[in-house]
Amino acid sequence: MLSQYDDSDGLPFVPPFDPPMPPQERVAAAESIRARGNALFKEGKTEGGLVAYEKALRYLDQHPASGAPPALTCRVAALSNAAMCRLKLDDPRRAIELCDRVLKIEGHGKNAKALFRKGCAHRALGDYEKAVEALEEARVAAPHDAGVKAELLRAEKDLKKFRFGW
């Protein structure tokens, strides 16, 4: 059951609201939940990782959300890692949504990881033009990343095959 991961960190499913948890405490809680997500992901528990990242986002998103730099850093990391989990769990649509949220925060073209994952997700959906577009942007943001180059080559090959049949 996915709920086992939700409860494993000792924090409730949503942040306490009676009284509401102060934003600083929520950010600290989100950070510890995200760290738990990283540990689960490293253990190969992708679903557990995703549950933790989504929980961290619930803590960060509660109104009024904190716009302080630690909150933004945590939000970007949680969104980006959740996108990776979605990709691994064969849910590219959600992965694209999560990457777009990262790019909205960081500025379009500025987060190579998010662009890379967005490109992978588009390729998984068979949307090769968009995949090449995102991966080219990722290559500009991270020109020495071998993974980006390799994925771009694969996407270009797929696009060629799709357009010309070979």
């Binding site: 499913f13 609201f17 009676d18 619930r58 509660q62 109104h63």
Partner: protein, 168 residues
């Protein structure tokens, strides 16, 4: 439903609000009086009554003239609405939460909403997020029953309860 807690006459507040917005309150005095006297509530669905949720809804009721009456921010209800994944909204004044069964074919039945349901680990929060995920899949073209099966059910909806959530 919602108790109005205005500290000043709603008419005066509504006029002040109109002036702030650059409108002429004097021209519409009668209409303004009618508006200020009316008691209406904003209905905020925290969980809408849907087939995949067994037609059980959770709703927050709040004075819809809270802004004009300059009611204080209800930080507990604001955080509650946010905890259900709703867009950021400031809830002003007293708020009530209620659970109901409504399949739109028979009479609506009120269900209990207990103090335990006001804990952040209450199962119905999971249900709110599950239904959101089901709705997204449905909007993308997945049939509703298939979408409901794709999103695991982790929530159990209690049959007992009543209301709550007065201004913190």
């Amino acid at each position: 439903m919602a108790r109005a807690n205005a500290t000043a006459a709603p008419h005066a507040l509504a006029r002040a609000q109109m002036k702030k917005q650059g409108q002429q309150p004097d021209q519409n005095d009668a209409m303004l009086d009618v508006m200020a006297d009316s008691q209406t509530v904003d209905i905020v669905p925290l969980i809408p009554a849907l087939i995949p949720g067994g037609f059980i809804s959770v709703t927050l009721y709040v004075d819809d003239k809270g802004n004009a009456k300059e009611l204080p921010l209800n930080s507990r209800a604001t955080a509650l609405v946010s905890a259900c994944g709703a867009n950021p909204t400031d809830v002003l004044g007293d708020a009530f939460v209620a659970r109901a069964y409504d399949n739109e074919a028979e009479d609506m039945k009120r269900l209990d909403f207990s103090l335990r349901d006001m804990e952040p680990s209450a199962k119905w929060f999971r249900e709110a997020f599950r239904l959101k995920a089901v709705l997204v899949l449905t909007r993308e073209g997945t049939p509703q029953d298939e979408a409901a099966n794709k999103v695991p059910r982790t929530a159990h909806v209690p049959s007992s309860a009543h209301l709550l959530c007065q201004r913190a």
